[in-house]
């Protein structure tokens, strides 16, 4: 098959699946699910085939759309290292999530709609990843946001889900405004929408003609606003923990390969441009390190498994952006890839526990016997070890590359921050693992949400009267597949392949054993602390955070950032909206009403001269006509 056919099939299959499933089979749940899975399978095969058979130079496969003012617009696919990698990651994760959803959403009344929306999500993300020009990129960037909105608010009868969906949509939109301005300015400067061309323009040594250094900094800053929104970087990160209101498979998709990865991918896509803006890169680096730090601390106090994973997503996204901002395209994208695998895996295991026990609380899951679900717990180990950065697991290698890229003069403070975040990551990950697999009913761990309390919205039929609890086969298979990925995807063999694919073979940083001592020691320190707090037989299972109640409160309230937004920005916006509402109802509407009343009064007063008798009307008309024509005739 030619690359063009493969690309078209990859891009169109999810769209067709979405359309057919939503329009014709929304009520026929199993048919809709089958169609969505078929579409996902086509995309998976197509994207992986394209990845394994890359052309020597970037390929452009487009169909013309329209031409205006000498600018040709086309839809299609740009096939180069970055898009091929991203496409395959999206294809693989979506496929796993689709299969998993067969089990997880088995009895949901909106199953057909759910699978259709997953198709929409995959289509949007693939089309965004493969976008050959800014316009297609922007359209599908927004469609990714729309699909997230629909899926986060999937259980729309839950007010909290609706609020979370709106929050995600609006928060990301704040960033998108800046990004849109940035894209328009960028187009004004380089006069092309072609992404490959833009990359080449900025890749050339020195700054492009007619573009000043300050201008590039501005462009980079505006584009980064979009990244900030989508990839949940401080201060636009608050939507992401709330996005947990969606079904768990959605979280798995949203937090690994699609929504949040779109921001990082945008950064990577315009990496040449960002490299020309050194000041902005330092600011971005600071933001990313800060984000990684605060979100890791939040994860240390959370009891909700999905919330812990959400905070870890924010901090891992911070790590990806650290890698990119430190100048290494490979580091950022490699971590994006490994993170997609292990984070999707962790969410799927979380979903399996929640499905079984009807609670998100890790203490409750542990006490209800979470470790008896053997495959799921295996997935928890593989994903958790990868997230924490335990050697030979995927996350270890990619994080190592990021930390390696961060070396250099002036980067010491960022490096310390990144190590601190890595330490906390190991700590909270193992806190989660220990609380689930080593439950201790005598410990001081507090159950915030007892098992079974969420049975309402989850699917709740368990046909296992005997034996250990067990997730359905459709849920176990993706967990196994992703577990393998979480174990091996980081190995140097894959790292070298990805670096070669991205055209950055020199960035595949092979650290000497001595250089690895520090990162490994830091991870082990985090694990050891977690063992003392949660793992050992006499461990209090309360954690160091609980020694400082004000700190624990602050962490549980996410450093009061949400509260701060509510008290300041949201209050201000609401007051402004109330003012505008007054101006609208009393000002504009009042003026309109007054005009209407005046017109009616005038009508009533002039109506008195109307007799309503036709002969008089006609007579008047004839008389006037006669006078007018006579006066004309007489000059």
């Amino acid at each position: 098959m030619s690359h063009a056919n493969l690309a078209v099939a990859t891009l169109l299959a999810p769209l067709i699946a979405f359309f057919v499933a939503l329009v014709f089979f929304r009520k026929k749940h199993d048919v809709a699910a089958g169609i969505a899975i078929l579409g996902g399978l086509v995309s998976l095969v197509g994207s992986v085939w394209l990845l394994l058979d890359p052309a020597p130079a970037p390929e452009l496969i487009t169909a013309p759309w329209f031409e205006v003012g000498g600018i040709k617009l086309a839809f299609g696919a740009l096939l180069d290292g970055r898009t091929l990698l991203m496409g395959a990651v999206v294809g693989l994760i979506t496929m796993c999530v689709l299969v998993y959803s067969l089990g997880y959403m088995k009895h949901d009344p909106g199953k057909g709609r759910f699978f259709a929306f997953l198709g929409l999500f995959e289509w949007a993300m693939l089309s965004f990843s493969y976008a050959p020009n800014l316009l297609q990129g922007f359209i599908f960037w927004e469609l990714v946001g729309l699909a997230s909105f629909l899926l986060i608010g999937f259980w729309y009868e839950k007010p909290s889900a609706v609020a979370a969906a709106k929050k995600a949509f609006i928060m990301t939109r704040i960033g998108d405004v800046g990004m849109f301005v940035g894209l328009i300015l960028l187009f004004g400067d380089v006069h092309t929408l072609d992404i490959l061309e833009i990359g080449n323009i900025f890749a050339a040594p020195g700054l492009p003609e007619g573009v000043s250094a300050g201008r590039v900094e501005l462009l980079a800053g505006l584009l980064f606003l979009g990244v900030m929104g989508k990839s949940a970087q401080f201060p636009l990160h608050t939507w992401l923990p709330d996005a947990m209101e969606g079904p768990t498979p959605v979280s798995a998709l949203l937090h690994s390969a699609t929504m949040v990865a779109a921001g990082v991918f945008l950064f990577a896509r315009f990496h040449e441009l960002f490299l020309d803006a050194p000041t902005m890169m330092t600011i971005i680096l600071a933001i990313a390190v800060f984000t990684a730090l605060i979100s890791s601390t939040m994860a240390m106090a959370a009891n909700d498994m999905k919330k812990i994973l959400a905070f870890s997503s924010i901090s891992q996204l911070g790590f990806m952006i650290i890698g990119l901002a430190a100048g290494s395209l490979f580091a950022g994208l490699f971590h994006l890839m490994t993170h997609a695998l292990f984070k999707a895996l962790l969410f799927l295991t979380a979903g399996a526990y929640i499905h079984e026990f009807g609670t998100n609380d890790i203490v409750a899951i542990g006490r209800a016997g979470g470790r008896k679900m053997r495959v799921t717990t295996l997935g928890l180990f593989a994903g958790g070890f990868a997230l924490a950065g335990v050697p030979i697991f995927a996350g270890f290698w990619s994080k190592e590359v990021i930390l390696g890229a961060l070396h250099g003069p002036g980067a010491e403070v960022f490096l310390i921050g990144a190590y601190a975040a890595a330490f906390m990551t190991a700590y909270y990950t193992f806190r989660m693992i220990f609380l689930i697999v080593l439950p201790n009913t005598d410990s001081k761990a507090i159950v915030e949400e007892p098992a079974g309390s969420q049975g309402g919205h989850g699917p709740a039929d368990h046909g296992h009267a005997h034996g250990a609890p067990k997730a359905p086969g459709t849920m176990r298979a993706p967990i196994l597949v992703l577990s393998i990925g979480a174990v091996i995807a980081g190995l140097p063999f894959f790292g070298d392949a990805v670096a070669g694919l991205l055209g950055r073979p020199h960035e595949a940083h092979h650290a000497a054993i001595t250089e690895m001592i520090l990162p490994v020691a830091i991870v082990l320190a985090g694990v050891a602390l977690a063992w003392l707090d949660f793992g050992g037989k006499k461990a209090p299972q309360r954690g160091i955070v609980a020694w400082f109640p004000p700190l624990e409160r602050a962490l549980k309230n996410r450093w009061y950032i949400d509260a701060f937004y509510r008290k300041t920005i949201i209050r201000f916006v609401n007051a402004f909206a109330a003012l505008m509402y007054g101006a609208e109802t009393r000002g504009f509407d009042g003026a309109g009403d007054a005009l209407g009343r005046g017109t009616m009064k005038v009508g009533v007063s002039t109506a008195k001269s109307h007799t309503g008798r036709l002969p008089i009307f006609v007579g008047t008309a004839v008389a006037v006509l006669a006078i007018v024509s006579l006066s004309i005739a007489l000059g």
């Binding site: 002039t606 002969p615 004839v622």
Partner: protein, 102 residues
Amino acid sequence: MNLESFVLLSLVLFTLGLYAVMARRNLIAILIGIELMLNAASLNFMAFNRFLPVEDPTVGQLFVLFIIGLAAAEVAIALSIILVVYRERKRIDVDDITELKG
């Protein structure tokens, strides 16, 4: 035959029509009056077209064709209005229809 006789005939027709519109109370009669006035106008057009030296004789004929078409459309609408009035009140006397009175 000369121009004057045609114009005279047209004048008579027009006056009759005007009288019908102003004096009659029956809606159908008023409609007939309007038709008479339209025909008077058409006759005038054709007469001037025929007897006066005009640059392009088709202009007058075109006018007349348009008037005929317009009259047909007008009759269709007027008759349907009259029908509705009749259904509402069982009468078609113009004196009954005075809702627009102030």
